[in-house]
Amino acid sequence: MLKINNLHATVAGKEILKGLNLEINAGEIHAIMGPNGAGKSTLGYVLAGREGYEVTAGEVIFNGKNLLELEPDERACEGVFLAFQYPVEIPGVNNTYFLRAALNAQRKYRGEPELDSVGFLRLVREKLKVLHIGDELLHRAVNEGFSGGEKKRNEIFQMAVLEPMLAVLDETDSGLDIDALKTVAEGVNRLRSPDRGMIVVTHYQRLLDYIVPDKVHVLADGKLVATGGADLALKLEEQGYAWLEDGGIASLDAETAGRTASQ
């Protein structure tokens, strides 16, 4: 579904991604972990097409298409969704109105009939029920005055309505208390499907207790330096990222192996 080859990207003239390779198949959830400044959020923005994030080398192929050639809205219409680390507040734009306009823009792009307000409300009610979210967010302006948890729930709600092929969740766990985290994770789990790929970007392992990934990658200094199963996240939680400077993934494995043996 998604194939990233040798991706290099700069922000304000500074190289952040330095040859990133990643392949995601439909139905898989990949977690990307790594220290601050490794380029985790940059990856999300590059995939979504944010201005100022310049790709200097490499390619991103999404369902056979060159994703980097598309405008941000075309990428969305092709099925890429970015859940923001810091969702933007938009005063004056009603959440329901906005989401219906967005969904209809996507449906139009795909040659599907647009939904009228009755059809849209029916869909929204269904999604709210599945996600166990109340309808109070619907009547407010997009993210305006929302708490951190409400903003993240609103991102997941948007994702549920727009039903993307590929969802990139950028530190969706940051700033959440444990209850909000569980709600968000449950929402994500309900959206797991054999047709959908997900990239869960996170700094902490905690989120992965609730969203169990198929693969875990470690991003450091603009590249993936380690890849493993869900257990890799646990190792990182125990040992932090200091090993990156102490000799790389080999030292991590040796230490973890040693500790396991001594227990």
């Binding site: 097409g49 809205d73 969305a76 969702p87 938009i90 004056g92 967005a102 823009a105």
Partner: protein, 433 residues
Amino acid sequence: MSELSTQWAEKIPPGIGTGPAWLENLRSSAAEQFRTYGLPNRKDEAWKYTGLRMLDKSGVQLATQIESPVSGLSNSTPLVEFDLTVNMLDGQFLGQIGELPAGMTLLPMADALRRNVPGLKELLGSLDMSRSKKASSDGFSALNSAMLGDGLLIHVASGVDAGRFCINWATRACENPLLFNSRICVIVEQGAKLELLEQFESLAGNANSSNIVFQVSLSEGASLTHIRFQNEDENAALITRTEVAQHAESEYTYIGFDLGGGLVRHDLHSDLLGPGAIADLNGAYLLDGQRHVDNHARVDHKAPGGLSKQYFRGVAGGEGRAVFNTAVCVHPGADGTEARQSNGNILLSARAVVNTKPELEIYADEVVASHGATVGQLDEQAVFYLQTRGLSETEARQMLTTAFCRSVSDKLSDPVLREIIADRMMDVMPHAG
């Protein structure tokens, strides 16, 4: 004096009709002022940012009644359904659709002048035509008074809730465009209530221009909600002056939308004469192409305990030019006044211009006042956020600019009218670049 002023001055008839002496005096002294000082120019402080080049270039001529017989044209329908609609064509009374509620009088101005309706003489006479030291500054008011004859008188008797009605203004197209003068007088007696929508639309391109003075007298406890929606042709000029005299505990609410017009100037003034009066002035203006919209809003607090709010939002794209002047003067003795002024503008293109100037003068005690004026661009983060959900950049920008202006239309109490006006704003929303 400009060439246009001279041309128009020559067209003012020596004596318009057979009115009472006070009326002929009013007309002739106004005509004298116009013949001597003419139209405003850039040297007048209040017209510093608004020139009349568009009128000069298009060669608009002053319409006299003889040249403008009203034909059987029909105006466009009102934005929402009204029980009572008055159609005005090229400044003149065309007809009334629907029944008047009990306690409300509505007359074409010519009839009202003939009948010498009580209160009319005083109201007409109260129009200040020397607001600044330079008499040319009030040239349009002088011209309007010199040509006084067309328009409407609306009277609501004490204690009557007259509901709402629509004044539906339309202008025709002419090979050689004309400027029409018209006067609206609204008298709302003690404790009475009225809501009106003024709707301005051109029936074709290259339309005629208008110079309208709208005078309101609100007695004690009276209330007027005044909604204005104008979407005139880009070649038309619309010069309006709204003067509101407010007595104790009266309430005036203005919600205006300027979507069209090539040269638009609106002087909106509320005089709080009695204690506890409220003036709530709101407006949105959207400009594209080479359009020019100038709003001058002013509230004079002359009695204690008054409240005034001014809330205006503007969006300028293309080579549009917006002028916004908001002024509050709290006079001696107007203690305990509360005055709020807020003006926000978004510039969508590098060639659009906004001149905004808040003014505040306070000569009283215990006054609460706030004012702010901003000119900025759209939040690019918000544009990107909307794009990542599937909206094109154009759609995203339109949604954000409309939201900015919706904060004005959201003040309308009728939800249907609110949505219709919001949609109309979306239709004309200027594009970036």
